[in-house]
């Protein structure tokens, strides 16, 4: 019986790569010439940067994480617990002495914590590299109605932004196309893989609609169209959605009855949504938008998720009545009106929680700053949300909205071994993520930032300004 034991330091020394940071370790030993060459590449093509993290191979032997506090999320938290996973799936979760398993790697995580990987439920990760460089942006297709496009196929697996998000414990994400009225289809991904195909969990996780404004904006602004014109535009936009769904339904009916009917990729792309298999992710912020979208979904018998949800607290009865979940896209924003309480964005999750409305917290940041996800959830706690609910909002609740409730979001037997080992509460900024597994594959938690950090610590070591 061979068991491989590993130990994890609680606080890695400054500058020391976390275990598993293969390239960081490698870099350290590489000839200077190579380092310089890499640096040159970084400097000259940084807009099109290519992550140097190496995707992990499939889990080849059983892994036991032992001695840790296991935050299962779906069940009780287990002090001195263990998690066992094989071939990418969790096979055992328990407390006390861990089972002895042939050929397993045992990770001694004493004093550490295990959580399910965090889930980013509203991002463009992989579709954007550098915000200011248009050619690196792939989330907004030409045209107002483009259900045919899918996010997954444009995700750059080598984006430098992905390992940065991963290092903060985000292992799963829902990637959105943006813009227009119907932006396309969003995709659920795991944040590791050689290709987008390997990363994609469901390339067609749902249809994305940007719900049009339902109220005219303030009159009296010189550049804003008149209230009448705005109402006309609003009507046209709402009718365009109705028309699209009528046409799609008619198309599918005709096509199913007569396969010689010519094909329309846009309507084909809506099949799963019209059939109720996949949800519509509706971007909606104002109470008017939310109410209008929910009423529409009820009328059309569609599954719907509200994304954005900035003022979802003012449409709560309807959301509760129809059990519509809300992805709260970020808390860290200013109140919309001067007279609104300073903390109105911060208290939104607590209000939805009290009203029994299902919600997910997303970062609301650019994909480069996905790591603020946990801080957003923490802010909700500071302003009244129970801590457990905040954790659920970035794990199990998110998994369910992503259609991954059966496989992700909690530490349970049978679920994917997508989890993190941390020094503490992952919602605290000061907590380190030490180890991460995606489907049992141990992920390289190094990234561009750590690499550069190491590189320049070396500079100061050479100058004698840093001792270690």
């Amino acid at each position: 019986m061979s068991i491989h034991h590993m130990t994890i330091g609680i606080h890695p020394l400054p500058g020391r790569a976390a275990p598993g940071c293969r390239l960081c370790a490698l870099l350290h030993e590489l000839p200077l010439v190579f380092v310089a060459a890499v640096a040159a590449l970084v400097a000259s093509t940084s807009a099109f940067a290519q992550s140097r993290q190496i995707p992990a191979p499939p889990q080849s032997r059983p892994i036991v994480v032992a001695g840790a506090t296991i935050h299962t999320i779906s069940g009780p938290t287990l002090a001195d617990g263990y998690v066992v996973f094989r071939e990418g799936r969790i096979t055992d979760v328990g407390q006390g002495d861990h089972p002895q398993i042939e050929n397993a790697t045992v990770i001694n995580a004493e004093g550490l914590h295990v959580y399910p990987g965090l889930i980013s439920a509203d991002t463009t990760l992989g579709l954007v590299e550098t915000q200011a460089v248009a050619v690196t942006i792939d989330h907004t297709e030409y045209g107002r109605v483009t259900p045919e496009v899918r996010a997954a196929v444009a995700i750059n697996p080598d984006s430098d932004l992905i390992p940065v998000a991963r290092a903060s414990g985000i292992l799963t994400a829902l990637v959105f196309p943006r813009g227009g009225l119907v932006s396309g289809r969003c995709s659920t991904i795991r944040l590791d893989g050689w290709t987008w195909e390997q990363m994609a969990i469901d390339a067609e996780a749902g249809l994305v609609i940007h719900w049009p404004r339902t109220e005219p904006t303030r009159r009296g602004r010189a550049d804003s169209p008149s209230e009448k014109e705005q109402r006309k535009q609003i009507k046209e936009n709402l009718e365009a959605i109705e028309r699209l769904f009528d046409d799609a339904a008619a198309y599918i009916q005709a096509r199913d009855a007569d396969p010689t009917q010519s094909t329309d990729l846009r309507f084909e792309a809506m099949r799963a949504v019209l059939g109720g298999e996949k949800p519509v992710f509706v971007r909606a912020s104002s109470p008017g938008q939310i109410e209008s979208a929910v009423a529409w979904s009820v009328r059309r018998n569609l599954r719907i998720v509200i994304v954005g949800g900035r003022e979802a607290d003012r449409a709560m009865p309807l959301l509760a009545k129809h059990n519509v979940p809300v992805v709260i896209t970020g808390l860290h924003r200013l109140p919309r009106q001067r007279h609104a309480p300073f903390d109105s964005p911060f208290t939104l999750p607590a209000k939805l929680h009290e009203a029994g409305i299902r919600f997910v917290i997303a970062s609301g940041s650019s994909p480069a700053h996905e790591r603020s996800l946990s801080q957003n959830a923490a802010t909700a706690v500071a302003f009244g949300l129970p801590r457990g609910a905040a954790l659920r909002a970035v794990t199990i609740e998110a998994a369910q909205v992503l259609g991954l409730g059966g496989s992700h979001g909690s530490i349970e037997e049978g679920k994917a071994a997508t989890l993190i080992i941390t020094t503490g509460d992952p919602l605290q900024i000061t907590t380190d993520i030490l180890v991460a597994f995606i489907d049992g594959r141990r992920i390289d938690l190094c990234n561009r930032h750590k690499t550069l950090y190491r590189k320049y610590r070396e500079k100061y070591r050479q100058l004698g300004l840093l001792s270690e």
Partner: protein
């Protein structure tokens, strides 16, 4: 046309003949009667002085006599004044009109917004329709100024006469108009592109004018050996202004700009007044304290749209309160002691002026004050009080004749007199017919008629009880015509009638549909005709608005005549009653205002209290480290004692706080803020704009200050943007919410200035620099110029007094002044930077010029050259973890701050964002996470370190005895992501408190609801009370609304429940 210039002295000699130009007359010379007498009127000779049954004699344009016991000269043309009130002619103290041609070419200023040499007296006179509009409101004279520009030109005071030849100028050079006009978008690249740029341009130009005057003096004393001064018409035109012999009029569009204008007036000792905004009441105290007169527009905001709750959401409480309070503005200013004149300017519809005035009076302005603000005060402001403003012997005969009172609802202005010439404004129809009469025709028809020619109504009563309403009822110059259907003749078709009134009866002829004619009369009802009242024929004035030449076209609606007629009559009465009611039912607005106006404003500015906090964890960020179970005492705004354990010093404290479980830190400091800046944070139109100052445009009313206080922030470094290599000067403030901009300022903070490098500054394709090479070159050039400039001044100052009088001085240059201050170490550079190359470049450049950079801002690649930054001695104020938003930040890392710190750089974390600025404590926590800094050291990134960077660490940044009592009470460790700021104190005064915040919310919400109701009542009238339900309550519809539904059951209950 040009107007005649009327010398004051000529006016004062009443006997002098009129200065009419002797233009040839085509034909017979008209008689020009110049002696008039208005008799039997009430004359208000001045505010508060009224003579009943008085007469005014006017001769040759001048008031010869006024009184109740006058001998009327026999040659005078008599104007009966019974029922009339005569007031001094109103004076509009500031009208802004467009200038057609701005001077350019030789002598013009380089900046197209600077044209003080414009003289309105040389411009076309205000056009006749504007003069007519003003006369119809009772105005007889107006000061007219250029509407656009920064230094705009001199105004003129004109008579608002009808005939062009009578539009004379009472004062050729009234005040110099100054405004804060600036561009704003990146599309039109003319300086100034910001409010602060406009202010800098005004200041620089005034300094230039002083310099120009000094050069002229030297030249005029002895031209030998001197190059003649350049021709500078613009600067020349300011010579009276800088000598205080010409006043200036600041066109200010809000309450903050008034204070900014006053600062300029103080700096240059200007004789200034404001053309105000109408919202002065929002900062009443500060504006009145300037001591400057204010010309107040009676501009009230439009009624906010609050009908739908969602639309109401978009309306801030501040807007609602401004709407409610605006009519109190003039009264509040006067009560507070300001000198106030009124203007029709800024009104959306000038014709609303009198109703706006009426509203101001209903909101507390006294009639005498109102009249003074329209007569004596503007006369004084314009330097014309010797000749106008009151009805006194010798003054120009500028009068307004009003039936009744000028201040009543819908006042009836009859005439204005301008320089003794009568201008008719309105007149009643000579005749009206109102009452009951009998229509008789030679076809045997005889029917009672209701007639009202004022309302252009005529209704026939048929024997069967039905009614016929006439159409197109026109009564004009004794003649009546109308059309009616033929029922009265039992004919189908229209019958037309026309007649003339003579001796009380209308006699005329009608035409039947077939063309046949008939004769008719309409005679007043007599006793025999029944109980109807006789027709009331009178030559009395009709309600205002009646114009006998207008064809009134009432009743051309298609509604059923029989049913609506009576009701309509009642309806009209009701409407009138409602109007009356509206006049009575004024709901006075609250007298006490909060500052800033709107939600979360305070009634009282927080005052320092002596305070003791015990049992708290105190993060001193100073030598005391973190004190567990500590106490802190503050008196008079300063920290007086800090310690741990039981508090034993004793003494009385206004407030004691048990800090058990709480954490106390210094107030957080944001070293890079753009909160609370008015009129643009970038003066981006030029590469070098060191003359502009954020300090000029601090906006204390920005709600984000309050939100930042709620996150524990107490001080901020307000920086210019990063659009140019050398930007504007900074402003260091404390967040003294509810205070004025001046209250916010930290007066002993050393000045700073924003520099910027990299992508932002090189992206304007039409502006140098376009490369990082050019950035270095232009900064080098600027400092070189500053050194030369300094040398010029040094040489000049070193001269003997006597030599100096024969030497033209160097010109003061505000742009170079700021750079000289940098070179001499009196001003700190805060430089926006990203890449290591540019950081190093600026360090080397600074070293070459012998100064030290204050801070590098952002400095996201600072970690790559940290040793150079440390060796130079610059601070680094960085983002905790931003990156990837543009190419130059692709190498930004969250370890930047700690790595620089580890190498010896003084590091702070900043926000550059009004949102992030309310969470600076958790930003500090990132220094723990990324790079493993100790927690107490990490907190210094947002407390003492930025204080040191800003050189205000002698006052703030740490909790130490003797320092300002600026501190925050937290619910738990400030580095915890779960921490909440519970209280924020500045100088021993509490500016934020969670409990107080709750109270402010409740108040704001209650105020909003009150105001929404008030707005709705204003729009729709009073709602009917519930006691008298108009109809039966509607029953619920028996069936479901008709909405198509595929499946009544919500289908998704199953879809999300895998783990529930």
């Amino acid at each position: 046309m040009r107007w005649r210039i009327l010398s004051i002295f000529v006016v004062m000699t009443a006997a002098a003949p009129s200065l009419a130009q002797t233009a040839p007359v085509n034909g017979i010379r008209p008689a020009d009667l110049r002696t008039h007498a208005i008799i039997g009127a009430t004359v208000v000779i001045a505010p508060g002085q009224r003579i009943e049954n008085a007469s005014i004699v006017i001769r040759a344009g001048v008031i010869e006599a006024v009184g109740d016991d006058l001998d009327i000269p026999p040659e005078a043309r008599i104007w009966p004044g019974d029922g009339m009130t005569v007031y001094p002619g109103l004076i509009d103290a500031a009208l802004l009109v467009d200038v057609e041609k701005i001077p350019d070419g030789v002598g013009a200023h380089w900046n197209q917004r600077v044209h003080p040499q414009v003289q309105m007296v040389d411009q076309p006179a205000p056009d006749s329709s504007l003069r007519k509009d003003l006369r119809s409101l009772g105005f007889t004279a107006a000061a007219v100024y250029p509407s656009a520009g920064v230094l705009r030109g001199s105004g003129v005071v004109v008579a608002l006469a009808d005939e062009d030849e009578h539009v004379l100028a009472y004062r050729e050079r009234a005040a110099m108009a100054i405004g804060f006009d600036h561009g704003g978008s990146w599309d039109s690249a003319t300086y100034p592109g910001s409010l602060m740029g406009a202010i800098a341009l005004i200041r620089q130009t005034l300094y230039d004018a002083q310099w120009h005057a000094a050069c002229q003096r030297v030249w005029q004393a002895d031209p030998l050996g001197h190059e003649p001064p350049i021709r500078a018409d613009a600067l020349e035109a300011l010579s009276d202004v800088i000598r205080r012999s010409q006043p200036v009029l600041f066109d200010v569009t809000d309450e903050h700009n008034a204070q900014r204008a006053a600062r300029i007036a103080r700096e240059f000792d200007l004789d200034a007044m404001f053309l105000g905004s109408g919202v002065e009441f929002r900062r009443l105290e500060q504006i009145v304290a300037t001591g400057l007169p204010i010309i107040v527009p009676l501009k009230y905001p439009d009624r906010p749209e609050v009908s739908s709750p969602l639309q109401a959401d978009d309306v801030t409480l501040r807007e609602m309160m401004t709407w409610e309070q605006a009519p109190t503005n003039a009264r509040r200013l006067l009560d507070a002691g300001a000198m106030v004149a009124l203007t029709t300017h800024r009104l959306k519809k000038r014709s609303d002026f009198l109703s706006a005035l009426r509203k101001a009076i209903r909101y507390g302005l006294s009639e005498d004050d109102a009249l003074a603000a329209l007569t004596t005060t503007p006369a004084k402001l314009l330097g014309l009080n010797r000749i106008m403003g009151t009805i006194e012997e010798g003054k120009v005969a500028n009068l307004v004749v009003v039936e009744g009172s000028l201040f009543q609802r819908k006042p009836k202005i009859r005439d204005t007199w301008i320089n003794g010439r009568r201008h008719e404004v309105s007149k009643d129809p000579d005749l009206k017919l109102v009452g009951k009469a009998i229509l008789r025709t030679d076809r045997g028809v005889e029917a009672p008629v209701d007639i009202d020619t004022i309302k252009a109504k005529l209704t026939l009563h048929l024997p069967d009880g039905s009614k016929v309403k006439a159409k197109k009822v026109v009564f004009q110059h004794d003649r009546l015509s109308f059309v009616m259907d033929g029922r009265v003749f039992e004919i189908e078709g229209y019958v037309r009638l026309a007649g003339v009134l003579t001796e009380g009866t209308i006699v005329g002829a009608g035409v039947l549909p077939d063309g046949e004619q008939f004769a008719f009369t309409i005679a007043p009802s007599t006793e025999e005709d029944g109980d109807a009242e006789p027709i009331d024929e009178e030559a009395q004035p009709a309600p205002v608005g009646w114009d006998p030449n207008d064809q009134l076209d009432a009743d051309n609606d298609d509604e059923s005549e029989e049913t609506e007629d009576d009701q309509e009559g009642e309806g009209d009465e009701e409407e009138d009653e409602e109007d009356e009611e509206e006049e009575e039912a004024i709901e006075p607005p609250p007298e006490q205002l909060v500052h800033p106006l709107g939600a979360f404003g305070l009634t009282e500015h927080p005052q320092p209290r002596s305070i003791l906090i015990t049992n708290a964890t105190i993060w001193t960020c100073g030598s005391g480290g973190v004190i567990e179970n500590g106490w802190l005492a503050a008196v008079d705004g300063k920290i007086t004692a800090i310690g741990s354990g039981a508090f034993e010093l004793g003494g009385h404290y206004d407030q004691s706080i048990d800090g058990t479980g709480k954490h106390v830190t210094p107030g957080l400091i944001d070293c890079h803020s753009h909160t609370g800046v008015s009129g643009g944070i970038n003066e981006w139109t030029q590469a070098i704009t060191s003359e502009v100052r954020i300090g000029d445009v601090v906006n204390p009313d920005d709600i984000n200050w309050y939100r930042e206080l709620a996150g524990g922030l107490t001080a901020a470094n307000q920086l210019h943007g990063s659009a140019n290599p050398i930007g504007g000067q900074n402003s260091v403030v404390k967040l003294k919410w509810s205070g004025s901009a001046d209250d916010f300022r930290i007066h002993d903070a050393i000045g700073g200035i924003k520099f910027a490098l990299g992508e932002n500054v090189k992206r304007s394709k039409d502006r140098y620099p376009n490369t990082r090479m050019g950035v270095e070159a232009i900064i080098r050039d600027s400092f070189t110029a500053a050194r030369d400039y300094q040398a010029r001044w040094d040489r000049y100052r070193a001269m003997k007094e006597d030599d100096r009088t024969h030497t033209m001085p160097p010109a003061r240059d505000l742009e170079l002044d700021a750079l000289v201050e940098i070179l001499s170490g009196q001003r700190m550079v805060h430089c926006h930077s990203y890449r290591q190359d540019e950081i190093l470049m600026l360090i080397r450049l600074a070293e070459e010029f012998g100064f030290t950079i204050g801070t590098f801002q952002h400095v996201l690649e600072g970690y790559k050259v940290a040793e150079a930054i440390a060796a130079h001695g610059a601070g680094a104020s960085t983002f905790s973890d931003w990156w990837a938003y543009k190419v130059e930040v692709m190498d930004a890392i969250p370890y930047n701050g700690t790595l620089m710190h580890d190498v010896g750089v003084l590091v702070s974390f900043n926000s550059d964002s009004s949102e992030l600025a309310r969470r600076m404590n958790t930003e500090a926590a990132k220094a723990v996470r990324y790079g493993g800094l100790g927690e107490d050291e990490a907190l210094k990134f947002v407390t003492i370190n930025p204080a040191r960077q800003l050189r205000i660490d002698h006052r703030i940044g740490s909790l130490e005895v003797g320092k300002d009592a600026d501190f925050v009470i937290w619910s738990e460790s400030p580095l915890s992501s779960y921490a909440r700021c519970e209280q924020t104190w500045i100088e021993g005064a509490k500016y934020f408190d969670l409990d107080h915040d709750q109270a402010l919310r409740l108040w704001a919400e209650a105020e909003r609801q009150r105001l929404i109701q008030k707005i709705l009542k204003d729009a729709h009238g009073k709602p009917k009370p519930p006691q008298e339900p108009a109809t039966q309550p509607k029953t619920q519809p028996a069936t479901e609304p008709d909405i198509k539904r595929n499946d009544p059951d919500p289908p998704y209950s199953c879809c999300w429940s895998q783990d529930e």
